[in-house]
């Protein structure tokens, strides 16, 4: 794994200068490595992790368990890709266990999300059933705890 990657995953906004110092590379090497990671599709994008509650009260998020009938050729892939193309869908995973797809959907109102499920998702060919769970409160988002503990208490100087 490229040593730039963990640094970028920890903070995608780290400057090229600082990345170079931390990874012990030149700035030109850092730029070239990032370009390669992007070109190879290792880095898929850079996002901002936000506390949804603080952005807008009008945001609703739900996870939907979807059961599918697999197709003769392609299994679950075709239907899953079709579902993934809806812009309302933030994430879509094939799961082991009691259902097939886990779909994360975001919308501005409960109605909007419910409408998406009843009109778009559940009417798709191959979808057997859906079960929608709305998110009530966020404790951790993408590895970041919302109520982060304060740093450890340490003496100002210690041997």
């Amino acid at each position: 794994m490229d040593k730039i990657l963990p640094l970028l995953r920890a903070n995608a906004r780290t400057s090229v200068t600082d990345l170079a110092k931390s990874a012990n590379l030149t700035e030109a090497e850092v730029i070239a490595r990032i370009a390669k990671l992007e070109a190879d599709g290792v880095v898929l994008g850079y996002h901002t992790v936000v506390d949804p509650k603080k952005v807008s009260k009008e945001q609703v998020s739900a996870v939907i368990e979807v059961k599918l009938t697999p197709e003769r050729e392609g299994g679950f892939d075709k239907t899953a890709e079709r579902i993934s193309r809806f812009p309302e869908v933030q994430s879509c995973y094939l799961m082991s266990g009691g259902y097939d797809l886990l779909v994360v959907v975001e919308g501005t109102t409960l109605h909007e999300v419910a409408g998406f499920v009843s009109e778009k998702l559940s009417t798709l060919k191959g979808v057997i059933s859906t079960a929608t769970h709305f998110r009530l409160k966020t404790y951790k988002e993408n590895g970041i705890e919302l109520n982060k503990e304060a740093g450890p208490q340490r003496l100002a100087v210690a041997p």
Binding site: D18, K21, S22, P152, R154, A156, V157, A158, P159
Partner: protein, 391 residues
């Protein structure tokens, strides 16, 4: 009554710690970024803290065996065998202590007769010389040099051996220099120890924190050395468990038995909940250690390059979480530099002589602080150097 004349001579003569002086100045100031902290800035991994809570819930609040919980001793011997390639018997050759500091004290008290000489490399951890004095031994510092990247050389060691030499204390990776030893140098040192019949106390508390793919090697793993080594290790640094106060000593049974005598009457046993937490650390904490190690490595790269860029020569240490740059080019002493930096730029580091006189001309900067803070500290230090460099 003048109590001061009742204080034992050998305790009265121990100088006050240079770190403590400095700590009091730093504490009286606001908004200081401290690079003076010798403990991890990570929380103890949650699974380990959770194990300590569970220990309390289950009511594990009694004494343990003097040597420590049997399960913990088994975990320790498995861990030492796996990572250091030295085999110990968990029943008779391991003792769980209140940090490595206690283990050092036990070993010295178990080994020294008044007047015995103890060799140790310098700069070194602040407790080494006082611990020897408290055990009625005579501390003999073996200087290490920036030119050798602060490795202890067998040649320098040989120059300090006398017929009274009994013990050699070593701490690699080293606090405060970050120095590590090569296997070749350790072999030469081991040969001297056999020739002069020295017991080696090897304090390997930073051994998990090595970088650049350098793998740690213990002197205890060299042929013929296990029988004359006390292997000292603990949980504070690798597992970020400083406040749990858990360390251990592994040594051949007769020596462990002697250390146990001191331990059982002075301490009885290490804290029970902390021992339960230590079991969890050894059973499932290795991923957490790797995560922290990677973070330290990135910070080390950053701080070493920043220091060299500002004209403070600093070798790139392969271990621990300290750098020990040379500040002589500024024309200041270590103490002048550290005080000036603190007063003018609110950045704290520790003057090199706090770790022994041969630390003069250097300062210790710990990178056990977030990269964000290190960045600001390095900017301020560069300003300080530019503004104060004597013409």
């Amino acid at each position: 009554m003048t109590l001061s004349k009742h204080i034992a001579n050998h305790i009265r003569d121990i100088p006050r710690s240079g770190i403590r002086d400095f700590f009091e100045i730093v504490q009286s100031m606001k908004d200081v970024i401290s690079l003076g902290i010798g403990e991890p800035d990570f929380h103890t991994p949650w699974r380990i803290r959770e194990a300590a809570i569970y220990s309390l819930e289950r009511g594990h609040t009694g004494y343990t065996s003097n040597l420590g919980l049997p399960r913990l001793r088994e975990c320790i011997t498995e861990y030492v065998a796996k990572h250091f390639a030295v085999q110990y018997d968990p029943k008779t050759e391991v003792i769980v202590t209140v940090g490595v500091s206690e283990a050092i004290d036990l070993a010295l008290r178990a080994l020294l007769n008044p007047g015995d000489e103890v060799l140790y490399h310098e700069p070194c951890y602040v407790s080494y010389s006082p611990s020897v004095v408290m055990a009625h031994g005579i501390p003999i510092a073996v200087p290490t040099h920036a030119a050798d990247n602060f490795r202890m050389t067998a040649e320098e060691l040989a120059r300090h051996i006398t017929p009274k030499s009994k013990v050699l204390m070593m701490n690699f990776p080293c606090n405060p220099t970050g120095a590590t030893q090569t296997r070749e140098e350790l072999e030469k040192i081991a040969k001297l120890c056999v020739e002069h019949d020295l017991v080696v106390l090897t304090d390997e508390i930073y051994s998990e924190l090595t970088y650049d793919g350098a793998s740690h090697f213990s002197i205890a793993a060299l042929p013929g050395m296990r029988e004359r080594c006390v292997f000292l290790h603990g949980f504070s640094k690798a597992f970020a468990m400083t406040g749990f106060r858990i360390g251990y000593a592994c040594a051949p049974a007769p020596l462990t038995e002697a250390m146990m005598k001191v331990h059982q009457y002075a301490i009885l046993c290490a804290n029970t909940m902390a021992q339960d937490a230590a079991i969890e650390a050894l059973e499932s904490g290795e991923n957490d250690v790797q995560m922290m190690r990677k973070e330290y490595e990135a910070r080390r790269n950053f701080i070493v390059r920043s220091l060299n860029d500002m004209g403070l020569p600093c070798f790139k240490p392969h271990g621990a979480f300290y750098v020990f740059p040379e500040i002589r080019s500024t024309g200041m002493t270590s103490r002048e530099f550290s005080l000036g930096l603190l007063e003018q730029k609110q950045v704290a580091c520790v003057p090199g002589p706090a770790f022994g006189p041969s630390g003069e001309g250097h300062i210790r900067c710990s990178y056990a602080t977030s990269l964000d803070k290190i960045k600001i500290a390095m900017e301020r230090m560069a300003e300080f150097v530019a503004e104060n460099r004597r013409k």
